[in-house]
């Protein structure tokens, strides 16, 4: 019996050691323990832990002090939890993108709107584009409106990614982020209308072949 208990202890200890090896190697013991506790809690809640481990490793590589690393990991865990509450069952990449959007100031109601526009489909790209637009400086409400309209209209990931690239290019050329998003959204709307009517409309961007 003692032998079995000892073996079980060795197994549990070695599994925990394998999971925390990267953190132990790169963080001081106190920070590693606190980050490990956050990760264990996230795992227990069914949240993805890889983004949390990666955040801690990022902080270590950037030479951040321990408390700052713990705060960043804790904040991300909270946003992942919020994202899961809004989206329900979702993949790691969907939760990661949604958490990024929340960190940037997107409201939970906006995530609900995106989810409704893409009901039953993968949300990674719409949520990623939403986060990217806000990161470029587009106001969260305008970014959400654009993503929802595009997701409801064409519905394809490619259209969303093209939209993000166009807005990014306009901003790089000096356009205010909100104006860039509005103009490109209007262009996309015109193009959509033209496609439905079977006519050609000059949208200002290079012509793109549409998927059949």
């Amino acid at each position: 019996m003692q032998w079995a208990v000892g073996a079980a202890f060795i197994v549990v200890a070695s599994v925990a050691g394998a999971q925390d090896a990267r953190l132990r190697d790169r963080l001081d013991s106190s920070t590693a323990a606190r980050v490990g506790a956050i990760i264990d809690s996230a795992r227990f809640a069914g949240l993805p832990t890889r983004p949390l481990t990666s955040k801690a490793l990022e902080g270590a590589s950037k030479g951040a002090p321990g408390p700052r690393i713990v705060a960043a990991v804790s904040r991300l865990a909270g946003e992942l939890r919020s994202a899961r509450e809004v989206l329900g069952p979702a993949s790691e990449s969907e939760l990661d993108a949604a958490a990024s959007a929340l960190i940037l100031g997107v409201r939970r109601a906006d995530l609900v709107a995106v989810r409704s526009a893409r009901s039953g489909e993968r949300l990674t790209v719409p949520l990623a584009v939403l986060a990217d637009l806000v990161a470029y400086g587009v106001p969260p409400e305008a970014a959400t409106q654009a993503v929802v309209r595009l997701a409801e209209g064409n519905g394809e990931d490619e259209a969303l990614l093209d939209f993000r690239r166009d807005v990014e290019r306009d901003i790089a050329l000096g356009a205010p982020p909100a104006a860039a998003a509005a103009v490109r959204l209007n262009s996309a709307g015109l193009a959509e209308t033209a496609a439905r009517a079977g006519t050609d409309v000059q949208t200002g961007g290079p012509p793109r072949p549409r998927k059949p």
């Binding site: 070695s14 990022e58 904040r75």
Partner: protein
């Protein structure tokens, strides 16, 4: 003859010992031994073996060997089997030959080759750090072009969002000017993000 007498005679007849061939027991047992054992009985036997308390004597050397085997299994084998580790190994592949082999071996829908480009005319070295290589500075060096100003590297990345940054001359962190900034600059050094999807990023 009364009923009672009749019953008594029948009972006596039934009580009389039956004469049997003395070898019948041996024949029956031989037949039983030849038949396959019943599955449930075998299971009960295993269960009894497993649940029966017993004393196990193990030498210290044997216990250490068992512990070492458990450690090797959990530290070396289990991480290799986990999807996270597989993704990281996939992402960390930079050798062109290995890259091609990995691309051929992996699902086309789940991973894509992504080229990272950074312009740094005065740099002596540029490396790529990110989610996909545990933010290790030495893991993914970029190669300089002929003019030593454009630095590139190709990686096979699984679908999803990946944060990354460039490190110039092992000291200066830089975001990718051609990619969206990552959310939450928690550490005072900006990073970028790339979204790898089935269509394009």
């Amino acid at each position: 003859m009364s009923d009672d007498e009749l019953i008594e005679r029948a009972a006596q007849e039934l009580r009389r010992p039956v004469r049997m061939d003395p070898a019948v027991d041996a024949r029956v047992m031989a037949t039983v031994h030849v038949l396959p054992r019943h599955r449930a009985e075998r299971a009960r036997g295993w269960w009894a073996w497993l649940t029966q308390a017993r004393t196990v004597r193990v030498s210290p050397l044997g216990a250490l060997a068992a512990a070492a085997a458990v450690l090797v299994a959990t530290v070396v084998i289990v991480p290799r089997l986990s999807p996270d580790a597989a993704s990281e190994q996939l992402a960390a592949t930079t050798d062109p030959v290995a890259l091609t082999q990995a691309a051929a071996a992996s699902s086309v829908d789940s991973a894509h080759v992504v080229q990272f480009v950074f312009v740094a005319p005065t740099a002596r070295s540029v490396s790529l750090v990110g989610d996909f290589n545990n933010w290790e500075m030495d893991a993914t060096p970029l190669e300089a072009g002929p003019a030593r100003s454009v630095w590139t590297v190709k990686l096979l990345l699984p679908n999803g969002r990946h944060r990354y940054a460039f490190v110039v001359d092992d000291s200066t962190w830089a975001a990718d000017p051609g990619a969206p900034p990552a959310a939450g600059d928690d550490f005072g050094m900006p990073s970028s993000v790339v979204t790898v999807t089935g269509s394009s990023s």
